[in-house]
Amino acid sequence: MTMVEKIISSKIGRFVSPGEHVVVPVDLVYAHDGTAPLAIEVMENLGLREMKGRVVFTIDHASPPPNVESASSQIRMREFASRWGVELLDAGEGICHQVIPERGMVRPWDVVIGADSHTVTLGALGALATGVGSTDAAIAMMTGKIWLRVPETIALRIEGELKSYVTAKDVILEIIGELGSDGANYKAVEFLGSTVESMSVDSRMVLANMSVEMGAKAGLIPADAKTIAWLKERVSGEVREIGPDNEADYSSIHTFSAEEIKPNVSLPGKVDEVVPVEEVEGEDVQLVFMGSCSGGRFEDFMGAARIMRGRRRKESTRCVAIPASKEVYMRLIDSGLIKVLLEFGCLIGPPTCGPCIGAHMGLAGPGEVVVSTSTRNFPGRMGSPDSRVYLASPLTAAASAAAGKLTDPGRFLG
């Protein structure tokens, strides 16, 4: 069985196959300030009497609020959370997909429903985590269950050793470029192979995080000894490993050679139009954004610092750095990296999704070219519809900020 088949089977106490519709108990449901207000409205319309199971709200998309409208909907979330006993991670704690695993709220074999498409990030810890809208989240909060179609699974095998200036972000962009924006639609994907095994938990989260950009319902990575060690510092009680069976039945298998992967970018407007940075080097860049649930982890800033240390950003290029959580922020302080970022010329913001969804803290103006470590580069998502956003790794972002133009990080680190 694949990981998804194993998790659903263990939850409902019988073997399941792809294509079946099943009602599955959930271990955790969460929503944030972009989706919780509508979920609250739905729950009230449906005559909420009790909340079933573990429910968490995060205020992370526009936090602290940039306007009265956001402030108002956040007040509503706090009131509702306090009345119904919902755990609230308020402004400043961090982005849901980062802070929820950090706080030990998820473990392998769990079924997690999040009212955000990037909930798939938690698949990096061996959970079945999938994104839904506010109505589905509301029903899961009220009933402790969700209906799902058991998905087929695509195996993505990545084998070999990455070059020192090639990151998990380059790997996931390579895969999305290969499969396309709907290449895994309605399916689960599993990231397997020696490259994934040697990756840190931070890197694995980057892979799982962007599996939704090829349409995947879930992106899972086997929870091995490394995962368990990471979790043991954060959760109490039993934590069990999980992986697919050797004879798991995949709808397709794609193999990637780590040695052949170069620093990549998604061309503006399309996540799945991926080319090596070296093919588009040289375009002037006005804004670099390092952050989001895809590129705001400690490891991301540690990588960027390899280039930033002892250098200054080009004056014509602003560089906004936003840690994905308070924990990441504190590690940046404790390690001294915060000073490297500041001396390089970064503007450091508090944990928030911020510019990734065009809410605040570093939007792009008309005609501006952006290099971003975030998840999406749809037209107008990060600000002006006339801006152009390249998605890239933290290393490419740092190299581009240092040079003031799109730059392959191999030029600094090769």
């Binding site: 506010s134 924006s181 639609n185 349409g215 749809f378």
Partner: protein, 165 residues
């Protein structure tokens, strides 16, 4: 259940950010106020020009991107009768069903303003302007019931229980 309206012809990969841009969603508090920003960057005058029952005819991967249910709700709120696309992104598809917006997976030939007639139970789409018909796989009974009631909230109001147990 029949839906009849003019075609709005769109292409592949219409994202949730096209339907309701994030930067506007986070500066407007209510869905009611968000109505005027539907397709703001793609078809700025859409909210004024759309008529009840109009049908969006799109290509691959409609609703790609965010889980924001506002996208599906707003299309319904401004009067869109159905979205016909060759494929849908999965979260948008679920959201559309939940809010009572028929999301129909079908290959349909239509130009802007062609008159389209959809028979939801029968699985037939007629392009009346061209005189051509197209078939789609009818919805499973559970989904059709939710759509006929007008979404999960209406379903619950009338039947006193949630679909899917």
């Amino acid at each position: 259940m029949r839906i009849c309206g003019r075609a709005w012809r769109l292409g592949d990969d219409v994202t949730t950010d096209h339907i309701i841009p994030g930067r506007l969603k986070y500066s407007v508090a209510s869905l009611e106020e968000m109505r005027r920003y539907v397709f703001h960057d793609l078809i700025p005058d859409f909210p004024e020009l759309v008529r009840p029952g109009d049908i969006i005819v799109a290509g691959r991967n409609f609703g790609y991107g965010s889980s924001r249910e506002h996208a599906a709700r707003l299309l319904r709120m401004v009067g869109v009768g159905a979205v016909v696309a060759s494929s849908f992104a999965r979260i948008f598809y679920r959201n559309a069903v939940n809010v009572g917006l028929p999301a129909i997976e079908a290959e349909v030939e239509a130009d802007q303003w062609d008159l389209i007639d959809v028979d939801l139970e029968g699985g037939v789409i007629e392009n009346r302007t061209r005189g051509s018909t197209f078939r789609f796989k009818p919805f499973p009974r559970e989904i059709l019931e939710i759509l006929e009631e007008g979404g999960v909230e209406e379903y619950f109001r009338r039947r006193g229980r949630l679909p899917w147990g």
